[in-house]
Symmetry: C2
Subunit: 522 residues, 2 copies
């Protein structure tokens, strides 16, 4: 199927979400899926339905929205896994079942304890089963880059004969280099019958910093699908970064002569969204979407060095959706301007959410002169995360200082409207606030990490707090925002407590569960 | 000079330090230079002496320590630049002058407004001048990757004839891809007389995410020096990351058959040091040194998936200096254990600094049960940054809450021992604290960014605050640490105020100055 179009297969919600600290709730996954659809990716790998009931529900919810891109789910070569994927994805007009099995000697020996022939049999059975349920079936030989070439060709041949319509070659451990990967793809092109009739795909990890270059080596050698994630999130050093590989193809189009259908002006808003949801800050020096990526453009004095933008710039900020204006809103900005800005920032809110966010915006505008994009993003993340109880923060007061122990007093309201007022001491105001939250709600968390960033500029900027905690063997992350950093921290902590309490009632759907997901590495 | 050894040329202190927000003080640069020497890099590019008196002083101070690696300084093809480099670096037994001039059409036309012949004349004159002063001279044709191949060969030939001992090929704008760069290097190898008698070097930027792969393509095609930075810091998307390129060569040694002399067990401590000093956090999913890079090792439940480490791990944490123990110290740990740990973390402190840090450690151990590596790093960064007045924080008290405006009261002591006590209000405790600091000291800063991280785990962890501010057209960054986050913020803000006041007295040596450095991009 030689074509000049490269399909972009986004696995932010599967391989990305598996990374420690990147797990997302159902609502967050839906929001990311909508943004990926706006970005116009070809395929969304929405999860690994057999991993947990929560994963199944999330894949199903995304498929049922029928956003446009093909919705894909991952399955081991087990009948139950495959059936679960099918049940989860079938709500989307275009859907795909993706089955994988490891093929390298080290995985055969230490992980699967299976012989070469058994693995082929397993792969063929799984692909055939999947094809009975679905016309669009992808097969991945895990750890392909460390698999013997001849055996890899044998496995791929069998998978194609069994009906796979896409074959994906993962560099599971981020081990290969471009020249070597080029040879692997050319070898397959030469030795696998029928390989020109299916879509050949590439899936790279960044352990040696070469995921983008390896993916591009693969497409230069005939691959026509790239698997990647927003901001390159993923296990260990992460996956190939979508924004980098897409902009490399676009910027060097005269070299590659290959196109994607990505709307590159959605890259920056999508990157910000995923960063906000996962709490994985975008490094300042991240290519394409980092704060410094276009620093020559950002008002830094150039002392006449820069007479022509392309002297030091091979892309324009506009190309990737970085608006030069950073339009500032203020207390006189109306609902219309606010709603437009929200949309430009890549958020899709329903009427109810827009109203809530606009109210928060007006409240903030009373306290803060200029409202920047970062402030608006913070409002929206906050509206989303703090929307459900059972506990609401009514008031919080702290005193602290070098001369005394810190004290935090707070009033929480539960669902029945009953108020509870308590106070506690601590070494600093945040410790005191966390203690009083634990005392009041009876949920004792184990704080692993606390981070806080200003959402915009100025001493009156809002602080966005992120806490990472463990409770009962599970890992949780909470966000909170306020112009008062102690309050922001408190809201983040309370968000987690509320989530744990809701989860107790509702089962496991809503809790991000990093530790017990039966993870799949390809 | 074909050899199997790759020289590692570290430009963290020149190209890295030029990145927005990465400027360092003289003390910080010295500390990084010492760490680079422990890491055993071959060449340290210590700065661009003609850029400012502060840059000159820093390069000279580093050269005068005679740490072992070759000390290099950058110069335009101007006699004064070259003489300044020589004056700055000559204190080191091994020293190098690095001259550059742009050669691409776009730079010739828009930046230099010089014809091809003029550029060659300028390069030849500069190399000859440098060779009169120094035996070790490097030449870089800026934007080489966008220069016409034949003209590039002509320039390089002329530079070698003029006496250049190293010729460096920069991909200044991060534009090239491995296959193209391979062709460029092979072309030069074929068309430049004498190229086998000099060291061919490569210098890559990461704008399209391919700096590491491009550098490796160059060495596979004959380059024997790689220019890179710790954590890949540098302008825009940054430079080739030292730790990634070194570990790629080591991990895939059977593919490349090339060695470096880097002590890879110093990679992680050095990365942490540079991150701490520049305030550029290491992304969790950063290859080699990110928190998740070895996540399979980090105690995450594997549900039996991991019978053998190499199933998912191509490097060992030990190889890059990540200690598995994360040795915990406590209140009963003595000076000896503390000093050992400080050394293992990559810090070199003198007797006075060790004593101060140990006192802080004991104070912290009284308040906090377990002292982790992060806490120790925070103490050391703090001891370093808060060591000079004129203002010292004596006490700070804040009250804040949802029901009232925040108030901060503080007492500062000036150098004469006079106390000043003031208070101010704000929307949150940090705003109130910043206001009262400004009122008390008379220095009005423009806050651009505020960040805070927990230094270790637990609700009693210390918070490390980083503020980025502008004052009088200059950009400054301050750090502060405390178990009380408001106090940490306050210390960070006060550090900047003190630096500005000291700078007013002492001239410009001590102030990081991002905006007015006459920057050199290669």
């Amino acid at each position: 199927m030689a074509t000049d179009k490269i399909r972009i297969f986004d696995t932010t919600l599967r391989d990305g979400e598996q990374a420690p600290g990147c797990s997302m709730t159902l609502r967050e996954k839906l929001r990311v899926a909508r943004a990926l659809s706006e970005l116009n990716v070809d395929i969304i790998e929405a999860g690994f339905p057999a991993a947990s009931p929560g994963d199944f529900e999330a894949v199903k919810a995304i498929a049922d929205e029928n956003l446009g891109p093909t919705i894909c789910g991952l399955a081991r070569c087990h009948p139950e896994d495959i059936e679960k994927v099918h049940a989860a994805v079938k709500g989307a007009d275009k859907h795909r079942i993706h089955v994988f099995v490891a093929t390298s000697a080290i995985h055969r020996e230490y992980k699967l304890k299976m012989a070469k022939e058994e693995i082929i049999k397993s792969a063929v059975g799984a692909v055939q089963h999947a094809r009975e349920l679905c016309d669009d079936v992808e097969f991945s030989p895990e750890d392909a880059s460390r698999t013997e070439l001849a055996y890899l060709a044998e496995v791929v041949t069998a998978a194609i004969e069994a009906g796979a319509t896409t074959v994906n070659i993962p560099d599971t451990v981020g081990y290969t280099v471009p020249k070597e990967f080029d040879r692997l793809f050319r070898y397959l092109k030469e030795h696998v019958p029928g390989i020109d009739d299916i879509t050949l795909s590439v899936h790279c990890h960044d352990d040696l910093g070469m995921a983008v270059a390896n993916s591009l080596a693969a497409v230069a050698a005939g691959a026509r699908q790239i698997e990647c994630t927003i901001n390159g999130i993923g296990e260990r050093a992460g996956n190939c970064s979508l924004e980098e590989v897409v902009m490399a193809l676009k910027t060097r189009s005269e070299f590659f002569d290959l196109d994607t259908e990505i709307d590159t002006t959605r890259l920056y808003p999508t990157a910000r969204l995923v960063s906000g949801i996962t709490g994985m800050a975008i490094p300042r020096n991240k290519a394409i979407v980092g704060e410094n990526a276009f620093a020559h453009e950002a008002g830094i004095h150039q002392h006449g060095m820069l007479q022509h933008h392309s002297t030091y710039e091979i892309m324009r900020p506009d190309d990737v959706g970085i608006s030069k204006s950073n339009l500032v809103l203020g207390k006189h900005s109306g609902r219309h301007a606010f709603r437009d800005r929200v949309r430009e920032l890549g958020f899709k809110l329903d009427e109810f959410e827009t109203n809530r966010a606009f109210q928060e915006f007006k409240k903030l505008a009373d306290r803060k002169k200029d409202i920047y994009d970062g402030d608006i993003e913070a409002i929206i993340m906050n509206v989303d995360s703090s929307s459900s109880g059972p506990w609401l923060l009514k008031s919080l007061n702290v005193t602290s200082g070098t001369d005394e122990e810190a004290t935090a007093s707070l009033t929480l309201i539960d669902e029945s409207g009953k108020e509870k007022n308590e106070s506690a001491n601590g070494d600093g105001p945040v410790e005191a606030a966390f203690r009083v939250l634990e005392d009041t709600t009876g949920i004792d968390l184990d704080l692993k990490k606390f981070e806080l960033h200003s959402a915009s500029v100025g001493e009156d900027a809002q602080g966005e707090a992120t806490v990472t905690v463990e409770y009962d063997g599970y890992s949780y992350r909470g966000h909170g925002t306020s112009t008062d950093i102690v309050e922001a921290a408190c809201r983040a902590y309370l968000e987690v407590i509320n989530r744990i309490l809701r989860r107790r009632e509702l089962g496991k759907q809503d809790g991000p569960v990093a530790a017990d997901i039966n993870r799949a590495s390809i």
